[in-house]
Amino acid sequence: MARNDLQGSLDLLVLKTLLQRGKLHGYGIVAHIQRASDELLQVEEGSIYPALHRMEQSGWVKAEWALTETGRKAKYYKLTAAGGKQLQAAEEGFEQLVKGVRAMLRYA
């Protein structure tokens, strides 16, 4: 689920995570996706960073450096208003896709 051609889905997962959990660093996002999807969605962990940086450039997320609970320096990401809108659109699009695929499968 982490190849470039399905970038949209990865974006959706990241944005959703940030909506649910607020400020989070890359590692935290990966961990959350794995936990929340009952380990079904396995993201190649490094691939989250190109996505995060791209979303940062698009203005969907904001980033700042901060210390973790364990005192490590990490870059934290936060959803922006534009990111929220994008999430909504992506969610709708995804719902449609899922409905379509499900209908298709049921038909067969």
Binding site: H25, V30, E44, E45, G46, P50, Q57, R72, K75, E92
Partner: protein
């Protein structure tokens, strides 16, 4: 500004590298920590973290790419994608690019002319301080009198220099003492180098103290004259040349202008004027303002001076009718008609470009429908609206730029063509260099980008607004959607309207040219050469010799005509005091037996001609007879008059019974003191245009025979049966052999004189016609495109109709009705625009009313037919639809 952020990132790269590395590293370390906490060994924890993370180097590169070059990379990717798309549908690409080139090319061409003519700064140092001072009488620009100039120059403080350029044309004199056509002017000394700031190519400019009589026989010559006549002789300085048959010493050669071609002011002799010097000359006043002095200040100062002068002028009579203006020096010597024509043409080509944009927008919209699925998939995969919009806009701009590049090349071609049609433009303003230069190219790129954005926005917005779920759900059948169809309809309607406006302009220009070509000149112009006969060595100070007796003049003129008729190629030769279309004079006369009105005396154009004049110029006889060889010095004086004369002065009587009273004429000079002479009217001829302007009115004319008076310095006209230019050499030697004291001057082809007057109209007509043709083509293509699309889209509906029993002809009519409705609305809107254009245009036209119903009806009909054909071609295809296939096509 995401793009700005990315560009900034490019420069912060090394720091960014460190940050990215730190971020990735912290991720891996957090994973290791967690693994250790879960009980893995240190080695195991590290290996697991690395495996989960993926290829570290690749990830880092991808992050860097996302940060630094995503925007630019996207742009490039979009451009590449756009080019690939265009390659994939070459038909569409070719149509769109050609359409754009057709829209952009004419704009570039006309703008290059307008730029050079009106907008480009003059190529002189500090040209913004150069001004022209015009004297106005009753609001009309007038030559300034030398005496007034002298007072302006002496009393004003606003000018660094104020110079006078006399209108007294001087001519070079040939070695055989005949007058050369090359002309020059007396000008304030130092005008070229000091006022205009043009360095001399050779030698020096004239000096102030050379402007006074006695020292004034020095001359500076133009670069062209130096090259053409003196073969760029490097030792020309100090040589003596004859001007008006007096020797002048060459002291300097001017720097060459960009497109000098001779025929202008080719030399300047110094002329200094000061108050009280009393000169009869008049001319232009050109000055250079002092730094910091505004035109308004200079104007105010000169006006004050001029009001003082006006009080003394003619004893203060009409003082309030005079005024003076200071204007920036620019190319405003152009014919006003031509000037207006150029601006109208710029507006016209602007409309062509709009039509082209509408066409391409329609093409893109139609194509967009087949790409909806593609775009929907893209957006389902996470492309934002902005990204899709950007991609479509990039495609449009790529199209525009390719079209623009071809358009610039096309524009260059049109420009050359236009200049060929209008040689006067280059001649009248030698400073105006019409070429593809930086400002013109900037304009071209500007309109190209504007066009790209204009036609790219509509489809881009439409596509980026597309509703994902609808599109994916509906499939391709009803993918049209109401919104786009109506946009297309509006675009086509606008196109038709604009095309009609352009066509109406072309129609009016054509009508005007037709009128001009069919003016009844009253004479036949083709194959006629005219020239003036002048005495050799007519210097400005040479006194007039006493004329020989009339008998001698007449004998010599008979010989001259005989000799001219003997020149090979000459069919007939005639003498006249003034050839047709070379102006007229107003001569007082009286009709014998009618009371004389002293306050409004009867006046008419009065010319002496040889009897062969009527046959040589092909003049038509209305009543009575022409002047004949039998009317000589001894026989009763006879006269012929034209129809205008009869209408004005002899309307209630039989003209052939009337006698006219005129002063006696002996050897070409009138004698008013003697008793007037009676002339019997023997014939009435059809009006011969005497006005210099083709559109002028013919005056009442009365012609007498030269054989009855003896009139020495006249002009001649020769009808040839070969190319008229081929006989001039023979005519020159004929004159030289019969009258060694005379020379030929101002040789003109009559047809050329007539054609030159139509230059501006021919220019307007050809370009307007050409551009309107392009507009018509584009509009037709637009209708065709939309109709084809409509037919393709309604295949299903047509199938249903036919299955339900609709006949093929009904289906075709249905489709045509749809298209023609748009065309008719467009034509109706266009007619309103055409009326407005008529109001703007008709003043530059001849014999065309502000509302030219004839040409409007013609162009509306033309457009209607074109629209009909454009509708019918695709509609015909709808008849070929097989209902079964159309319905199964789901």
């Amino acid at each position: 500004m995401a793009l700005v952020r990315r560009v900034v990132n490019l420069f912060r790269r090394s720091r960014m590298d460190g940050e990215i590395e730190a971020e990735l590293q912290s991720h891996i370390e957090m994973r290791i920590e967690e693994n250790l906490a879960a009980g893995m060994s240190a080695d195991e924890a590290r290996r697991d973290a690395m495996v989960r993370f993926g290829n570290h180097v690749v990830m880092k590169e991808r992050v860097t790419a996302a940060d630094a070059s995503l925007g630019l990379g996207n742009l490039w990717r979009n451009v590449r994608f756009a080019l690939r798309q265009l390659r994939r549908s070459p038909g569409f690409a070719l149509t769109a690019i050609l359409t754009l080139a057709l829209g952009i090319g004419p704009n570039v061409a006309i703008f290059s002319i307008i730029w050079a003519t009106f907008l480009a700064p003059l190529p002189y140092p500090n040209a913004d301080r150069l001004v022209v001072v015009w004297t106005h009488f009753k609001g009309e620009r007038n030559a300034t009198r030398a005496n007034d100039y002298a007072d302006y120059a002496a009393q004003s403080r606003s000018f660094e220099r104020l110079d006078f350029e006399s209108w007294n044309v001087l001519n070079l004199t040939n070695p055989d003492h005949s007058q050369d056509e090359t002309g020059g002017l007396p000008v304030s000394p130092g005008f070229q180098s000091k006022t205009m700031g043009e360095p001399m190519a050779l030698g020096r400019d004239t000096l102030p103290d050379e402007g006074v009589p006695g020292n004034d026989h020095v001359v500076t010559i133009s670069h062209w004259l130096w090259q053409a006549r003196y073969h760029s002789d490097p030792k020309i300085l100090g040589k003596s040349i004859l001007i008006n048959d007096e020797p002048y010493t060459i002291v300097g050669v001017e720097k060459g202008g960009p497109n000098e071609q001779g025929g202008g002011v080719e030399f300047m002799v110094p002329l200094k004027l000061w108050p009280g010097a009393h000169s009869q000359q008049s001319g232009n006043v050109v000055g250079r303002l002092k730094p910091g002095v505004s035109i308004a200040q200079a104007q105010a100062e000169l006006s004050t001076i001029d009001r003082r002068l006006a009080a003394q002028r003619n004893g203060g009579k009409d003082a309030n009718l005079w005024s003076v203006s200071v204007e920036p020096l620019k190319n405003d010597w152009l014919d006003h008609k031509l000037e207006r024509n150029l601006w109208l043409l710029l507006a016209a080509v602007g409309l062509v470009l709009l039509i082209a944009c509408a066409n391409v927008a329609n093409l893109l919209l139609a194509r967009g429908s087949s790409r909806r699925q593609e775009l929907a998939v893209r957006s389902a995969l996470g492309a934002t609206r902005g990204q899709i919009f950007a991609q479509l806009l990039t495609e449009s701009l790529t199209l525009a730029l390719v079209g623009g590049a071809i358009g610039i090349a096309m524009g260059w071609g049109i420009m050359r063509l236009a200049m060929a049609l209008l040689p006067d433009l280059a001649k009248q303003s030698s400073e105006a260099v019409v070429e593809m230069n930086i400002p013109v190219l900037c304009f071209a790129v500007g309109i190209t980008l504007a066009a790209g954005i204009l036609f790219g926005c509509a489809p881009g917005l439409q596509a980026s607004r597309l509703n994902l779920s609808d599109t994916l759900k509906q499939g391709s059948r009803t993918a049209g959607g109401r919104g786009r169809t109506s946009t297309q309809s509006i675009l086509v309607t606008v196109e038709v309207a604009l095309a009609l406006i352009l066509l109406s302009g072309a129609g009016m220009a054509l009508h005007s040219f037709w009128n001009l070509s069919h003016i009844d000149l009253g004479f036949t112009a083709d194959h006629v050469v005219t020239a003036l006969l002048q005495p050799r060595g007519m210097g400005p100070r040479g006194g007039k010799p006493t004329p020989p007796p009339p008998e001698q003049i007449v004998v010599q003129q008979h010989q001259l005509l005989d000799r001219m008729r003997a020149v090979p190629g000459v069919a007939d030769a005639a003498l006249t005091t003034t050839p047709p279309m070379h102006g007229y004079d107003k001569f007082q006369f009286a009709v014998a037996g009618q009371p004389i009105d002293k306050t409004h005396p009867s006046i008419a154009d009065f010319e002496g001609v040889s009897p062969s004049f009527f046959s040589t110029f092909g003049i038509r006889l209305i009543r009575g007879r022409f002047l004949g060889e039998q009317d000589t010095l001894g026989t009763p004086m006879v006269i012929v008059v034209n129809e205008a004369f009869v209408r004005r002065y002899l309307s209630n009587v039989d003209p052939l019974t009337q006698r006219l009273l005129l002063p006696r004429i002996t050897s070409g000079s009138t004698n008013n003191s003697e008793q007037p002479v009676e002339y019997q009217v023997v014939g009435v001829f059809h009006d011969v245009l005497d006005d210099e302007h083709l559109t002028g009115t013919t005056q009442p004319e009365m012609f007498i025979s030269l054989w009855q008076v003896g009139w020495r310095y006249v002009a001649f006209g020769v009808r040839t049966n070969v190319d008229p230019a081929a006989v001039t050499g023979g005519l020159r030697s004929a004159v030289a052999s019969v009258a060694p004291g005379m020379t030929i001057n101002q040789v003109e082809m009559m047809q050329q004189v007539v054609d030159d007057q139509r230059t501006s109209d021919r220019f307007g007509m050809t370009l307007f016609g050409g551009f309107a043709g392009v507009a018509l083509l584009l509009a037709a293509v637009g209708i065709y495109g939309v109709m084809s699309f409509a037919v393709a889209q309604r295949t299903h509906e047509i199938g249903v109709r036919m299955a339900l029993g609709a006949r093929r002809s009904e289906v075709v009519m249905l489709m045509i009705r749809g298209g023609m409705r748009l065309a008719l609305i467009g034509i109706a809107i266009g007619l309103a625009g055409a009326f407005a254009l008529g109001l703007l245009m008709h003043t530059t036209l001849y014999g065309v009313a502000a509302t030219d119903f004839g040409s409007l009806a013609a162009v509306a009909a033309l457009l209607f037919i074109a629209a009909m054909v454009a509708c019918w071609l695709p509609a015909r295809r709808s008849a070929a639809i097989d209902p079964m296939q159309a319905l199964r096509n789901e």
